[in-house]
């Protein structure tokens, strides 16, 4: 039961504060009708169950599919194949995203039908596809990520001067809509797969960053669309707010269309996967069965989650926003801060990102620290949005321009892993919860604030959420880097020496050698051992302590370690160990350790032959 229970407890831990806050407001400052309150509670339960099942589905289906696709991309033997496949993946996961179509319709309506909704959806999907393809080339070619992102945002800045503020907001909104519940986990998994295959020293930092790359696609696409069509202003008003009546009725009404929506969103990717499995992967039945189960979980989980959010949380958000803006105007920035902080932790992608950080760094970077920084960022974003609603003179670019500029500058001084995580965080934070609950809250507040424009101010909220976590995590990364650099002292040298002669004849006994090394030493260790006559090896990624650990606001930062296991001919194991010890200079503190144990003679020889009397000595 453990895996399912793990997901449930993870989700409930992040959901409880949200429910507690809303209930607290309902019983003190905000007057809410009973049916809406009950529906909120039903929605919370649906959200809990749906998100837990969805996360399970991501584990079972999205991650392996992403990894398979990554293998396919990385091992393609021609540039055009890599380009086509990565573009296709980016395009397909985006084009079916329901949020994007909603946004398209909103923009079409607001622009007086001069911009076609379908055109927006396709432009944005092409934008994502192109960015994913570029990002894939960047990763596989091993080019600098901060430089790549700085160039990308440089282009965005230049274009930003050519478009109106409304379209600037819409552009960032499109990026938030694209990085939805389904696309973000998939792109994360794809990146993880690519980095694993690429291997080498940069595996860890390569595991992140593609969501950041991808979210630039829609921004560029919408800005270009605005410049090409000459569209500048958005008019109109948001539809009047009408809370749904009843308790169970609205929930049941929401479920079927949401289910269809989720199915449509999942379909193109699944189709591509099955097509490729049929023609290329040919997975084992068991593995394929798991993925099919996982896809079903993903579908059911997503449908339940979105139903809960749409039916239970949206009306509640509007009412809280309206009521607070009307009666306790000054409270808006504070409440916005608290709300942003805790609501973001219920975002599905935040959980997926946490899992990925755990996996990719071997647990070196505490996920909690990332989550806290992320939620501080989002809290500030909502707080800033509230200020923008209350004071019309405060413009969106007051926040966006310096925020992104600082983040880009810091990216060059930040721990490389954090740079990827930070750029990803923008897309990760602007998921379905922000797009519904928080947005509804902001729109409610805007509707009751004189001088605020519901449509324009509403659009800007997601842009803010897409910026602040990038900044906050980049600051964390820079601080982290400073601390790490202080601690880094030793550097090892590799001396040339004559190789050991391997004794002739078949090995009769084996030793198992295990080296526990700081990350980065492993490639060298493997080369030294190979030169000394060792065969293949297996490497495990982990974390460990070796006396001098660093702490970071109460978080213990263990060093990243690699455990390498060899099976060696017993006659040369001692020499190989001696070589490793000397060449890697392991006498220093914390650099690594080598352990040896005689393997029992019941296995097979290195040549692949079974020992004849394998059982006799032991039974």
């Amino acid at each position: 039961m453990s895996l399912l229970r793990e997901k449930f407890s993870e989700v409930s831990r992040s959901l409880v504060p949200v429910v507690a806050l809303v209930l607290l407001l309902c019983f003190t400052l905000v007057k809410v009708e009973t049916d809406i309150l009950l529906r909120f509670i039903i929605g919370s339960v649906l959200l809990l169950v749906g998100l837990a099942i969805f996360l399970l589905g991501v584990d079972l289906a999205m991650n392996p599919i992403g990894e398979r696709m990554a293998t396919e991309i990385a091992t393609a033997n021609a540039a055009y194949k890599v380009a086509i496949l990565s573009f296709l993946l980016g395009f397909l996961v985006t084009v079916a995203e329901p949020d994007l179509l909603i946004l398209g319709n909103q923009v079409e309506a607001a622009s007086g039908h001069t911009v076609n909704a379908t055109l927006i959806v396709y432009m944005v999907s092409i934008g994502v596809g192109v960015m994913i393809a570029l990002g894939t080339f960047r990763l596989l070619r091993g080019r600098s990520y901060p430089v790549f992102m700085a160039l990308t945002y440089g282009v965005i800045f230049v274009l930003a001067f050519l478009v109106s503020e409304e379209f600037l907001a819409v552009a960032f909104d499109a990026s938030g809509a694209t990085t939805g519940a389904l696309t973000t986990p998939f792109v994360l998994a794809l990146t993880m797969g690519l980095s694993r295959i690429k291997g080498g020293k940069t595996t860890e930092e390569d595991s992140f960053g593609m969501v950041g790359v991808m979210s630039a696609g829609p921004i560029l696409a919408v800005m270009l669309l605005s410049i090409i069509t000459g569209q500048e202003h958005i008019q109109g008003e948001a539809a009047a707010f009408m809370p749904a009546k009843g308790i169970i009725g609205p929930v049941l009404d929401t479920l079927p269309p949401v289910f269809v929506e989720s199915l449509v969103a999942l379909l193109p990717l699944s189709a591509l996967f099955f097509l490729m499995n049929f023609s290329k992967f040919k997975m084992a039945k068991r593995e394929l069965g798991r993925i099919i189960k996982g896809l079903i979980y993903t579908l059911i989980g997503l449908a339940l989650f979105l139903t809960g959010v749409y039916s239970g949380f949206m009306d509640m958000g509007q009412i809280i926003g309206r009521s607070i803006a009307e009666n306790y105007n000054w409270l808006l920035p504070i409440l916005g801060f608290v709300m942003g902080m805790i609501v973001v932790l219920v975002e599905p992608a935040v959980h997926v990102l946490g899992q990925q950080i755990q996996d990719a760094t071997g647990g070196r970077i505490p996920v909690k620290l990332i989550r806290i920084t992320l939620s501080l960022g989002v809290g500030l974003a909502i707080s800033g949005s509230m200020l923008r609603i209350m004071i019309p003179e405060v413009k969106l670019w007051f926040f966006l321009l310096p925020g992104f500029a600082t983040a880009i500058l810091l990216s060059f001084f930040s721990d490389p892993v954090f740079v990827g995580i930070a750029y990803d965080a923008g897309g990760v934070a602007s998921g379905p919860m922000t797009a519904t609950f928080v947005l509804a809250f902001a729109q409610g507040a805007a509707a009751m604030t004189p001088g605020a424009n519901v449509l324009v101010d509403g659009f800007g909220v997601i842009a803010m959420v897409a910026m602040t976590p990038v900044l906050s995590l980049m600051i964390l990364g820079a601080v982290f880097q400073r601390k790490t650099l202080k601690l880094q002292k030793e550097q090892h040298r590799l001396r040339e020496e004559a190789p050991i002669t391997v004794p002739a004849g078949q090995a009769e006994a084996f030793d198992c050698m295990m080296a526990i090394l700081n990350r980065g030493l492993s490639q060298e260790a493997l080369a030294i051992a190979r030169a000394a006559g060792a065969g293949g090896a297996t490497i495990i990624h982990g974390r460990g302590s070796g006396g001098h650990d660093m702490t970071f606001f109460n978080f213990e930062m263990l060093k990243e370690k690699e455990v390498i296991i060899w099976l060696l001919d017993a006659r040369i194991s001692d020499t190989i160990a001696a070589h490793l010890h000397e060449k890697l200079d392991l006498d220093g503190e914390g650099g690594g350790k080598i352990f040896l144990v005689p393997a029992l003679a019941m296995g097979l020889l290195a040549s692949g032959q079974a020992l004849p009397e394998e059982d006799a000595s032991l039974t």
């Binding site: 895996l3 996996d359 490497i539 352990f595 296995g603």
Partner: protein, 222 residues
């Protein structure tokens, strides 16, 4: 003191950090943690595809004397001898240092240890299959660790070191029950052919937490 044993503990994900802390208070110099997965043999969970249990493996370099103290403390403080609390075992790995050879000249390779640790390394995705085979041959449980092989440069468009993904399966058994399990894995996975994988057997001095089923080998997990 030169550490002459590696102390392994397999516990639920998230608990290894605390255990490492605890061990350091007991005098252990340092340790390494990596992620693993346990499996639950329940057919219902298996059908639902959720039979995986997230685990963590903690590895401590200790002296044998210290390892005995750790065992006692684990029993007293963590009740590790009870079911579902995780398992711990000691492999007589000796640290290699210039002043002392790791394996003494007169080491007797034939002397049977009380328990053994079967380490199977196969291509990624085959871990659960191995567990099925091992269970049929009498194993009670095992831990799957995701690892990768050493990189092999490939001739493709991108200048990459392809690092083949591997599953490493740890199974602790008494030395009497281990050989049939090993033979079953060997035969079923066709390890006699090159590149199919490898099985290593390491001696284990002592274990705690190996659940003894009443009706003998009826599931159980680690």
């Amino acid at each position: 003191m030169i550490p002459d044993a590696l102390f392994f503990a397999v516990v639920d994900r998230g608990k290894a950090g605390g255990l490492l802390h605890w061990a350091r208070d007991k005098g252990v110099a340092g340790g390494t943690i990596f992620a693993g997965e346990g499996t639950n043999p329940s057919p219902i969970l298996n059908f639902l595809g959720v039979s995986e249990v997230h685990k963590e493996v903690l590895m401590l370099g200790v002296t044998r004397e210290l390892s005995q103290q750790l065992f006692t403390a684990m029993k007293d403080e963590f009740k590790m001898d009870k079911r579902y609390k995780g398992i711990a075992f000691v492999v007589p790995f000796r640290q290699w240092l210039p002043q002392a050879p790791a394996i003494p000249e007169d080491y007797d390779r034939e002397k049977p240890p009380p328990f053994v640790c079967l380490i199977t390394i196969v291509d990624k995705g085959k871990g659960e299959l191995i567990m099925d085979v091992a269970r049929k041959a009498g194993a009670r449980g095992g831990t799957i660790v995701h690892a990768h092989g050493a990189g092999v440069p490939q001739d493709i468009y991108f200048p990459l070191l392809i690092e083949p993904q591997k599953d490493m399966i740890l199974i602790i058994e008494s030395r009497v029950k281990a050989p049939p399990i090993q033979s079953a894995i060997f035969k079923e996975m066709h390890l006699e052919e090159a590149n199919n994988g490898i099985v290593i057997t390491l001696p284990v001095l002592r274990t705690i937490g190996l659940y003894q089923p009443r009706g003998d080998r009826k599931g159980g997990r680690k």
